[in-house]
């Protein structure tokens, strides 16, 4: 069996190069519907990541959910010091991109290969927006 590639290409990207712990969600994400914007905890009952904290993580999620208010929410959590290092979306909507650009948080959309096969929560990954890549740096200890 061939070894899976450790780098996945992303389709669109903004921001600076970041490296951090992956938080991988099988469910879409909304900073309004799912997040406690005071602690950084995913608070919506039943969310795939309920109880996880997004602070300083690289949040990998298949889709963007919900509304316009997310645009201010990213700026708000950035100033509260509880923002993730990057948002990695399968598909997103303009609000997430506008919000991330406004807050200066790295964001990507789309991927060349399914990251769920390669990256698990706790793994260290690097996002390079300029090269449009997401790389598995090393496995997490878990």
């Amino acid at each position: 069996m061939s070894k899976p590639a450790k780098t996945i290409r992303v389709n669109r990207a903004f921001g600076s190069i970041v490296e951090g712990e992956a938080l991988v969600s099988t469910e879409g994400f909304s900073p309004r519907y799912d997040l406690d914007r005071w602690s950084g905890l995913i608070s919506r009952p039943g969310h795939a990541l309920e109880g996880h904290n997004i602070k300083d993580k690289i949040l990998i999620t298949p889709s963007a959910k919900g509304g316009i208010a997310a645009g201010w929410a990213f700026y708000d959590i950035q100033h509260k010091g509880i923002a993730p290092k990057a948002f990695v979306f399968g598909v997103t909507n303009p609000v997430m991109v506008q919000g991330a650009v406004f807050a200066g948080i790295t964001i990507t959309e789309g991927w060349s290969a399914d990251p769920y096969q390669l990256i698990r929560t706790g793994d260290i990954v690097r996002i390079n927006p300029e090269k449009r890549t997401m790389t598995l740096v090393r496995r997490g200890s878990r």
């Binding site: 889709s63 316009i68 700026y75 303009p94 609000v95």
Partner: protein, 405 residues
Amino acid sequence: MLRGEQGRAVQEALQLQQEVGKFFGAKRFVPVSNVHMMGDIEVMGDAGKSFIERAAESGAKCRQPTTTNARCIDFAHVEHLKQDKNEARKEQELIACLRRMDVITADTCINYQTLYQPHLGEHVAWGDTGTVIYANSVFGARSNFEAGPAALAAGLTGRVPEYGFHLDEHRHGTFQVNLKADLNDLADWGAIGKIVGSGHQDYYAVPVFTGIKRRPTADELKQLGAALASYGSMGMFHMVGVTPEAPTLKAAFGGRKPKEVMTVTNRDLEKVYAGYDKQNNPLNLVVFSGPQQSLFEMKTLAALLKGRKVAKGSQLFITTSNGVKSAAKELGYLQDIEESGAVVLEGVCFYILQNLPQMRLREGWSNLVTNSAKLANIIGAHKFNTILRRTGECIDIACTGTDVR
């Protein structure tokens, strides 16, 4: 603008727009004629407020008419709802800053019914997803979802990067929804939005509705659009023979084939209504909000409530715009509504009310009954258990505390 000769705020606004445009591969900017922005203290927080204060301080002014979406405080009800006075003060300061920037603080999420109706092909920059999907679908105008900072940027620069729904290629239908259900209540239209949106969480998924038995009203299209945008993150739909870019099925799909054809029946609708459970908790909160009520909805609610009383221990909230509330007062609808014990809030949306989590605990609310599928979806973040019911059923629940289903 980029060199900063028009001030720092305009420079930063254009830089933001350039980065967003670059992300989506926009080739150019297009001028916008109207802007609608979300910006209240609940969604912005202190950091957002500081940003607006700096922009206002710099003397920046909107160069196109820019209106605001629903806010989080009705100043006449701060005491009654035990909202935070400090936050109310901040909201006042925020409104003052926005006015200094020539923002028209109309505080409504139904601008498309009450303030401005763009025409076919007109580029606008609107925020609140419900306003965007209505602009694209019903008017044939062109807007992306514009988040608060992005809408403000559009107000300051008078333009937006051309991507998404500004381009023909994203405006064609992608899948077909054959409506076999009878759609007699606003809640039914929202339920359609839930069924279709939940299964297609994609901004660029554009449903094409067929099989319409009668022409829907503006309020029905409002509920449908708001729910599609809320459950599916969608920005556009077509309705063959109804919406301007769908004179025929072929035109709606731009000659392409639908990726999928789905059918929605009465049974599907009943399944939606049956899917809610009061979890043995009281039915003591009924809300008509998200979007705000039109004058026609206020008239309906007045007729349903006339001579009735909200049940003891229950509360009924209705939100609308300042303009609609004033008209409802002139027409006597407001009196009929308020005499029942219902509370009409102006300029706000229920789900962003400042202090709502605390209010929920204090008032012993667990269930929230509404005829808005959008509200039933989004308020889950505040840990409400929501129940979607038809308009008349909502009123009955408010006045009896029981659900006949």
